[in-house]
């Protein structure tokens, strides 16, 4: 057994069959692990047009080859499935300990298929796996659920579970582990559709590595390098709470449903303000950063609220979209999302959309259960979070996400729906960070910053080259680089922040853990990243996606950004077509955005060529 165990567990909830399966060595060499395994198996196992909330959808809970080791910040995990929110590929990443525990249980991943007849949870130990009834957990929030499972199976239990959001099939429901979430793309709803409340794992630390002594030395180096990194020290001190100031200065902190590039009074939401409310911190498995900062509200209407966050995205989600600068409300809303199991980004974005619909008269007080959705009204925002998770009143509509709400309301509502491929955009304004914006357009999961983050634009990182954040098709190479590079990071599922603290050690850690010597070859991992992105693209092409869906919200294409004094006033995404032409050319895809046979063969994905031809044919008909 090595960092890669080469074994996964298949759990069928329909017939109760549970069994181990081997992962072929060639799959390990081609995909290394993590997200690579996720898309490899999902592509092969899932028939096209599978209903995301139907019995036949599958979920892959995957840890990386470094998870559970002594290396720092490498034990994240993710869920891969077909998204009920977008219909595209879903990869949703989380932290805490659960990734390490998947490995301690003896697997690289757990594949869940089928649908249980009644609520269940999966209980997994090193020696056994059982499907257990969860009737008494159904309806419970994620805190109670985790406590209940810990009481039943012991404090050493690690849990990934859903709350009412997932049970109620909120299209952007999250999976929660401890106080971290796999929140994007509605993976919690897929779990809910299977009547699967939780996966609980009991296992002792037990991992073998290809080169344990070499690995030990690398971890020593890693810790030394990290401690000497200013990025690490800052992250340990502030987590991500310092970022609102940065993005507000840049004019890319979206405000009033993405009409402005910052809040008028953003100073009320900067890191120093969160620091005043901080009461503790927590971290992921084997990570000294402990970047999860716990905040408590001590006075006002939300007194008593306590959140293991909010982090940058959630600070934004409950401030920018509705123009709220009352910090305590961001803590209260963040806590509710974690407790009830829904994605903060999609929740906040969808609420901002509802406020604009209200402003435009497309929703009235009659529709909103009497809530007045006027900008700045944080009490209505917090009330909507609860309604969405429980699908109560207006919450039942908003639980469908911006794309479906717009379609249902009609009357031009689509113009205010801020999503890409149905996934709500996060806390970076595309018109002021255009590589990130065009990443939203071309990402295989929709409007995700994590899919192809652009540190060049947000932080000035000059790698692989300097970037003008207002340039358009000139930066197509950067979008490709960032997306492929993101996939490289997610074969080991290293924390996105941490990778910058020890960039030269990541490859060596992977080699020492797995024994895949090819990783040392120049360009090998970038090629793996490219392979993953291409296979994910093939997955969504097979689902009917193409150039038409590689687009941005109308607002970004037709309305100039207003930045309230920050740079970027008047910016728009002007050259989408030119960008796509250039992007597809660099990727080796057809003008319709389909991976070409030559590119697929070059990447060792020949088995996909026929599928792409069939998809093209179906589209032509």
């Amino acid at each position: 057994m090595k960092g890669i165990i080469r074994k996964f567990l298949r759990v069928n909830l329909s017939d109760g069959k549970i069994g181990e399966e081997a992962i072929p060595e060639q799959v390990e060499v081609d995909f290394v692990g993590g997200r690579g395994f996720g898309i490899h198996y999902l592509y092969r196992e899932l028939a096209p047009k599978t209903d995301p909330l139907g019995e036949h959808n599958k979920m892959i809970f995957v840890a990386g080859p470094l998870a559970g080791t002594t290396a720092q910040a490498v034990s994240r995990w993710m869920v891969c499935t077909r998204s009920p929110l977008t219909g595209a590929f879903a990869r949703s990443v989380a932290g805490a300990d659960f990734g390490a525990w998947i490995k301690f249980a003896g697997y690289d991943f757990i594949l869940v298929e089928g649908k249980a007849e009644r609520p269940v949870y999966i209980h997994l130990t090193r020696d056994a796996c059982q499907i257990q009834p969860a009737d008494e957990l159904w309806g419970k929030d994620t805190v109670v659920t985790q406590e209940w499972l810990s009481q039943r199976h012991g404090l050493n239990t690690r849990v990934a579970c859903i709350g009412p959001g997932g049970e109620n099939l909120v299209k952007y429901a999250a999976i929660v582990t401890n106080r971290r979430t796999a929140s994007r793309c509605g993976v919690g709803a897929v779990m809910g559709s299977k009547n699967l409340k939780a996966i609980a794992i009991n296992a002792e630390r037990n991992l073998q590595l290809h080169d344990p002594e070499g690995y030990k030395q690398l971890v020593k180096q890693q810790i030394q390098t990290m401690m000497a990194s200013k990025g690490f020290q800052h992250h340990r001190e502030m987590g991500t709470t310092g970022n609102p100031e940065n993005t507000s200065e840049l004019g890319i902190f979206p405000a009033r449903n993405f009409r402005y590039g910052r809040l008028d009074d953003y100073e009320k939401l900067v890191g120093e303000e969160y620091l005043k409310r901080r009461i503790g911190e927590f971290g992921c498995y084997s990570c000294a950063a402990r970047c999860g900062k716990v905040h408590r509200v001590t006075k006002g209407p939300y007194a008593g609220a306590q959140s293991s966050g909010p982090e940058y995205e959630s600070i934004w989600a409950f401030s920018g979209p509705i123009e709220n600068s009352y910090l305590e409300a961001t803590i209260a809303a963040d806590q509710l999302c974690d407790d009830l199991g829904i994605d903060t980004i999609s929740t906040g974005n969808t609420i901002g959309f509802a406020y604009e619909l209200y402003e435009k008269g497309l929703l009235t007080k009659k529709d909103t259960d009497g809530l007045e959705l006027k900008y700045g009204n944080h009490k209505a925002m917090v009330a909507l979070v609860k309604k969405i998770a429980r699908r109560e009143g207006i919450g039942d509509l908003l639980a469908e996400g911006t794309m479906r709400v717009a379609a249902r309301i009609g009357k031009g509502a689509e113009a205010f729906a801020i999503n890409a491929k149905g996934l709500e955009l996060p806390a970076y304004e595309p018109r002021g960070a255009k590589s990130l914006g065009y990443n939203y357009a071309t990402s295989n999961i929709g409007g995700s910053h994590g899919y192809g983050y652009a540190p060049q634009e947000v932080f000035g990182a000059p790698f692989p080259r300097k970037v003008d954040r207002f340039a358009e098709e000139e930066n197509a190479d950067i979008v490709v680089f960032n997306q492929n590079n993101g996939a490289v990071g997610e074969v080991g599922i290293v924390c996105v922040f941490a990778r910058a603290w020890f960039p030269h050690l990541y490859n060596n850690l992977l080699i020492a853990a797995t024994g895949i010597d090819k990783i040392a070859e120049h360009g090998y991992l970038p090629r793996v990243g490219e392979r993953i992105v291409n296979l994910e693209r093939a997955f969504i092409v097979r689902e009917g996606f193409g150039r038409k869906q590689d687009t941005l919200p109308q607002r970004m294409l037709n309305e100039p950004l207003h930045t309230r004094g920050a740079p970027g006033e008047g910016q728009m995404m002007r050259n989408l077509d030119e960008f796509l032409d250039r992007y597809y050319e660099i990727r080796g895809w057809t003008p319709q955005g389909t991976p070409s046979p030559e590119k697929l063969k070059e990447l060792g994905l020949s088995y996909v060529v026929k599928d792409m031809a069939q998809s093209q044919k179906a589209k032509a008909i």
Binding site: A228, S229, K230, G231, Q233, H234, H235, E237, M238, T240, G242, N243, P244, N246, T247, E249, L250, Y312, E313, A427, H449, G450, Y453, P455, E457, V458, F459, G460, A461, P462, K466, R469, V496, F497, A500, A566, P567
Partner: protein, 88 residues
């Protein structure tokens, strides 16, 4: 010597992307830089003249942390200001 000006500061430097500065340490170079562009100071140095905690200075692509402002520089060195990745 030349300083690369990051996106975060460019609206405070009239859009300039680079600046020529003089000094024998990073601190002297940054002081020369903020003399040329006083508005940029608030996102670079604190009231006591220390580098802000989220700003990092590289010389010839190597971080200067933890010496930072005391790091010696010579003619021909390239100075870059990068803000630490703090959001995602």
């Amino acid at each position: 010597m030349q300083i690369d000006i990051p996106p975060l500061l460019r609206h405070l430097t009239d859009g300039a992307t680079t600046a020529t500065v003089k000094g024998s340490t990073v601190g002297e170079c940054l002081n020369d830089f903020v003399k040329q562009y006083p508005k940029a100071r608030r996102l670079l140095l604190d009231k006591e003249g220390k580098l802000l905690r989220y700003a990092e200075v590289y010389v010839n692509k190597e971080t200067t942390y933890p010496k930072e402002l005391a790091t010696p520089v010579k003619d021909g060195d390239e100075i870059s200001i990068v803000y630490v990745i703090s959001g995602g």
